[in-house]
């Protein structure tokens, strides 16, 4: 287990998106990184000159650092898909405690919607990679196709009809949250009929089972407890943080119904010294409706196969008793390709009470779970305010 003594030694002190989200053809991915870092540092009340630790994914920090004029003494470009930025919370916690850096900035920017390049920025498309040799020749590539295969297995084990209902519940409830987020891409109402009528992307996934593809960036700033207390905004303490991965290709996944959150979740909760019932807000990467279903079970919110009962009757919608993905998620708010950083931004804003119409009542604890690759990697962190 990660050292529980490190709980509350580091705080997130700044969090922000880039200036424009959605369809932004006039800005590059790196510009999203820089704008997000600029906004997050302003939010923190810190200067770029304070930054001595730089974290990102997809790009090497050599590129992002040069673009922004940052010369870090600690650098981390861990690329485990959309989970990277949550995983990097654990890395930043370790680095700050080891004295390797004092002010860490995690940035992301991606133009999945409008990018002029091929969009293959994750570096996972080298012809030497196993998926290029064993999966892509069969037309097995990209998350919708892979994740839909995992979902079919879940339906086989736990029942197709109740699984379908659960996917619909998640899509519809997430859209309701997005309607209260002015930055969300999809703000029109979605009915259950709309969900079921949306076209097939890769059966069993409808269009509305799948996350958006947008242009967006975001960043968070972390520092020591001592510095955090002197900054203008309420520190958002890192109580627990852990990561895990157990495969790369979906065809090598040990159990298609269990994500690596079954390890990273309990580790982060144990380090934090809290249990599921203590959590006021769950921010769970929703690359697909199915990702949420499988992750809730893997995190231990319910037993395997009980996810459909857990999310039934719009329990995760505004006004329900389980607050989930209040930003509108990757399904309806934004998702440029790798989304994990946006989970952190929303958790920070909710804990600080900055969420306007969708603000939860006085939340103290948030669990954030990022998932990356083909359900390959997870990072879980528990955040808190005093």
């Amino acid at each position: 287990m990660p050292n529980a003594n490190l709980s509350r030694t580091v705080a997130i002190v700044g969090a922000a998106e880039s200036d424009e989200l959605g369809v932004v053809p006039h800005k590059s991915a790196l510009q999203h990184h820089a704008e997000a870092a600029h906004n997050a540092l302003a939010d923190a009340g810190l200067s770029v000159k304070d930054v001595d630790g730089l974290f990102t994914a997809g790009f090497s920090t050599l590129i992002t650092a040069e673009y922004m004029g940052i010369t870090p003494r600690f650098s981390d470009s861990t690329s485990v898909g959309g989970s990277s930025f949550v995983v990097e919370i654990a890395h930043a916690l370790a680095a700050i405690n080891a004295g390797m850096c004092e002010v860490a900035v995690i940035t992301h920017g991606q133009t999945g919607r409008s990018g002029r390049a091929s969009g293959n920025s994750s570096g996972l498309y080298d012809p030497n990679f196993p998926n290029m040799q064993y999966e892509q020749p069969y037309g097995i590539m990209g998350p919708p196709i892979n994740y839909s295969m995992a979902c079919t297995r879940y339906m086989h084990q736990y029942g197709e009809e109740r699984t379908r209902q659960a996917l619909a519940e998640i899509a519809v409830s997430t859209r309701k949250w997005a309607q209260m987020n002015p930055k969300a891409q999809m703000r029109e109402p979605m009915s259950f009929d709309d969900y079921h009528a949306s076209r097939w992307i890769s059966w069993p996934f409808h269009l509305f089972d799948c996350c958006l593809v947008t242009d967006a960036g975001a960043a968070v700033v972390l520092t020591t407890a001592a510095r955090a207390r002197d900054l203008p905004k309420k520190p958002v303490w890192v109580l627990g943080a852990a990561e895990y991965h157990d495969h790369f290709m979906m065809s090598q996944m040990p159990d298609l119904t269990r994500t690596p959150a079954y390890v990273s979740g309990p580790l982060a909760l144990q380090m934090a010294g809290v249990t599921h019932n203590d959590i006021d807000l769950a921010m769970i990467y929703d690359s697909f409706t199915y990702t949420v279903l499988a992750t809730l079970e893997s995190l231990g919110y319910c037993k395997p196969g009980e996810g459909p009962d857990f999310v039934a009757n719009q329990r995760t919608a505004p006004g329900g008793d389980f607050a989930l993905n209040t930003s509108g998620g990757g399904l309806s708010y934004t998702h440029p390709g790798m989304y994990g950083i946006f989970l952190l931004v929303e958790a920070v804003r909710q804990l600080r009470g900055e969420c306007g119409e969708r603000q939860l009542k006085d939340p103290k604890l948030s669990l954030v779970n990022g998932t990356g690759g083909q359900l390959s990697s997870t990072g879980t962190t528990v955040l808190a305010v005093d």
């Binding site: 290029m132 064993y134 037309g139 992307i201 069993p204």
Partner: protein, 138 residues
């Protein structure tokens, strides 16, 4: 032969035998003599127990559908004429799971069930490359 527009594997040193056997219409896996597992994909050190005591072993080509999906939106232009098509993971006799296509059946969930028996067929997609695919058995 019309130009083949889909992605092709680039065999690597440890997988040359796999693709050569496929071209001869045989499906070969790797067997670990230490932990007695049969696994895919080809690598000389066992991913189950890290033993080097492994050797190629021919598969019966029989197995069951472990899971599948029906692709309606082509992931690359090469597949535009193929949608909808069936992607799957097949669990072979002996336990190895292999990603593949199910062919010879209408791509409709009504025709496919997890657990259905399948057997290997070989698709000579180019002069150099043959892809092992699967059809419903019997």
């Amino acid at each position: 032969m019309a130009e083949y527009t889909k992605s092709l594997p680039i065999p690597q040193p440890e997988s040359d035998f796999y693709w050569e056997k496929a071209k001869a219409h045989e499906l070969w896996l790797t067997h670990c003599d230490d932990c007695d597992s049969t696994y895919f994909y080809p690598r000389p050190i066992c991913p189950g127990c890290f033993s080097r005591n492994t050797k190629p072993m021919q598969s019966s080509g029989k197995g069951t559908i472990y899971t599948y999906a029906i692709v309606h939106r082509a992931p690359l232009p090469g597949w535009r004429d193929d949608v909808p098509y069936i992607v799957a993971q097949v669990e072979l006799e002996g336990g190895a799971r292999i990603p593949t296509n199910i062919v010879g059946v209408e791509p409709d969930p009504a025709n496919l069930k997890v657990g259905m028996a399948v057997e290997v067929v070989f698709d000579d997609v180019t002069e150099k490359i043959t892809l092992p695919k699967f059809k419903l058995a019997g």
